[in-house]
């Protein structure tokens, strides 16, 4: 069976989703399941284990297990702690109540943002100067890490070591910045 999200890879994960007594089957490959995982509340830092334990906690005999429907319940109950906006109100108005809503709804947000922004969900533009010292260093470190991996892939270990030292330097600078 093919994955119903990407229609490319083999579906290896099969879920039954029950919302208001309506049953839908989902057949996903691992890559797409991981992406779907971003939609789940309470998993800001995604872990495939969280996802699976939540999803697979469906009682196979009845197909109406507590695990998934509990998740669905939580989804409806999502609320911004700061401005008290409910997730469903955000869906209705497509306007956030305050900047903290981004955090509160973050588990559901990436797929929405991807749809709006041509597949992108991560900011790569300007960083505010006053707030941004640490962020700039972080961004530089991430790009150096990619570079280091490229060197390793090409077995250019001397270059990789040079980049590694540079990363260390920046990391120290970042820690200093955070300490302030």
């Amino acid at each position: 069976m093919q994955c119903q999200e990407c229609n490319q890879r083999q579906a290896t994960l099969h879920f039954t989703k029950i919302v208001n007594a309506e049953k839908t089957e989902m057949h996903l490959c691992e890559v797409c399941a991981k992406e779907k995982g971003d939609e789940f509340p309470g998993s800001n830092s995604y872990s495939i284990h969280d996802l699976l334990s939540g999803l697979l906690n469906v009682d196979p005999s009845t197909g109406s297990g507590a695990g998934y429907s509990q998740k669905v319940q939580n989804e409806y109950a999502l609320q911004c702690p700061k401005c008290r906006m409910h997730y469903k109100d955000f869906i209705n108005n497509s306007r956030f109540g305050c900047s903290y809503c981004y955090q509160a709804f973050s588990a559901k947000l990436d797929p929405i943002l991807k749809r709006v922004h041509g597949g992108n969900h991560t900011h790569t533009g300007k960083i505010p100067k006053r707030q941004g010292g640490r962020l700039k260093l972080q961004r530089e470190i991430s790009s150096l890490k990619t570079k280091m991996q490229e060197h390793i892939d090409r077995e250019e270990f001397e270059y990789a070591a040079e980049v590694r030292d540079k990363i260390r330097e920046l990391q120290e600078a970042k820690e200093k910045e955070e300490g302030q």
Binding site: K82, C83, M85, N93, S94, R95, F96, G97, C98, S99, Y102, Q103, L109, I112, L113, V116, H117, G118, G119, N120, H121, T122, H123, T124, G125, K126, I127, P128, K129, R130, Q131, G132, L135, Q138
Partner: protein, 362 residues
């Protein structure tokens, strides 16, 4: 007030200046959406919270040094009449919605109206830079500078992964909308634009006709802007938009040259007929006026008619909008009344010019 005086007060000072490629690109606009940490977004907020935001921003920004941005004028919306607000809309300095229902909002302007800012619109701050002609990088530079200056006085709502946090998810990230207003009569006449537009939207850009009263696009004016604000840097967004605009400019210019080469007499005829209608009508609707103004402007660009200022299209497209007509008439007008006033205004405006036949060389 004389017509000259009325016009010089009504038209934003920046519009009178020439700009790069302004035979095709009328103006460039950069808009940045910004919000402050710890204040609810304006769209969901109470009057009290909106007032608190306004007070916070005003205290921090109105009292500080103006070296960076020049002198700024603060216009609280509740101190403006309906017509004054509509004038701001027609000058593209506020949005229609903001003018209608702004609570505790303000428009902040610099001297030549190249820089403006709305407070408490959909986002706490909407920074805007307008420039004549095709000036994406320059426009972004001034918006960026103003943004830096503001950010040194207030704390923005910003997230490492999501960028600048905005009220609507379509603006999050850079919060930037870059737009270029183009006059494309040759591409419209030769029906090339219909074929180009789908390709442009595939590149993640949006094209809108400029609408007047009613909903018909008029004057062959089109605004092209970026759709996506997340996952691309400001520079990337501007580069992509610039690439497409440059291609459109080149195509429009080539098509104009072709038209002139093969149909000079017909073109000259159209241009002078349009001039005739504009110079003699007693009643004219905005759509008809827009189309003839577009043809007249094309005639000026192709040197088929001489002695008229090139920016007459920009200028009159602004002036023939309802609020300006009513300001000019110094009274409220019905739609019929506006059609009459519009004809009068255009006729009188053209009398200030010294029309001659052109040579037809570009």
């Amino acid at each position: 007030m004389s017509l000259e005086q009325f016009i010089s007060n009504a038209i934003s000072p920046w519009m009178k200046n020439p700009g790069p490629d302004d035979d095709i690109v009328m103006s460039t606009r950069i808009r940045l959406a910004r919000n402050l940490e710890d204040f609810p977004f304006p769209s969901s907020t109470s009057q009290d919270a909106a007032r608190a935001l306004y007070k916070h921003v005003y205290e921090r920004l109105s009292q500080t040094s103006k070296e960076m941005v020049g002198k700024l004028i603060w216009l609280p919306m509740d101190g403006l009449s309906t017509i004054e607000k509509t004038v701001l809309v027609e000058k593209h300095l506020t949005s229609p919605q903001f003018a209608k229902e702004s609570k505790q909002g303000a428009v902040v302007l610099n001297n030549d109206e190249t820089i403006s800012m709305m407070v408490n619109e959909e986002d706490h701050l909407r920074i805007q830079c307008l420039s004549p002609g095709f000036q994406l990088s320059e426009g972004y530079k001034s918006a960026d500078k103003l943004d830096d200056w503001i950010e040194s006085h207030v704390t923005y709502a910003f997230d490492e992964k999501k960028g600048y946090l905005t009220s609507c998810p379509t603006n999050v990230g850079t919060g930037m909308r870059a737009s270029v207003m183009m006059h494309l009569p040759a591409l419209v006449t030769t029906q090339q634009l219909n074929r180009i537009l789908p390709a442009v939207s595939q590149l993640g850009l949006v094209v809108r006709g400029i609408y007047g009263e009613g909903s018909e696009a008029r004057g062959n004016l089109f605004q092209i802007s970026n759709q996506m604000t997340l996952g691309k840097s400001e520079e990337d967004i501007i580069e992509e938009l610039r690439g497409v605009v440059l291609q459109l400019i080149e195509r429009e210019r080539n098509t104009r040259r072709e038209l002139l080469k093969h149909n000079q007499l017909q073109l000259a005829d159209q241009v002078h007929r349009s001039y005739g209608i504009l110079a003699n009508s007693r009643i004219i609707e905005s759509k008809e006026a827009g189309n003839h103004l577009s043809t007249l402007r094309l005639g000026i660009d192709l040197d088929l008619i001489r002695g008229i200022e090139g920016n007459i299209l920009n200028e009159l497209m602004v002036l023939i909008q309802p609020a300006f007509l009513q300001q000019f008439a110094e009274q409220e007008l019905t739609a019929d009344g506006r059609d009459e006033r519009r004809a009068t205004l255009i006729r009188e405006r053209l009398k200030l010019e010294n029309i001659q036949d052109g040579g037809g060389e570009t």
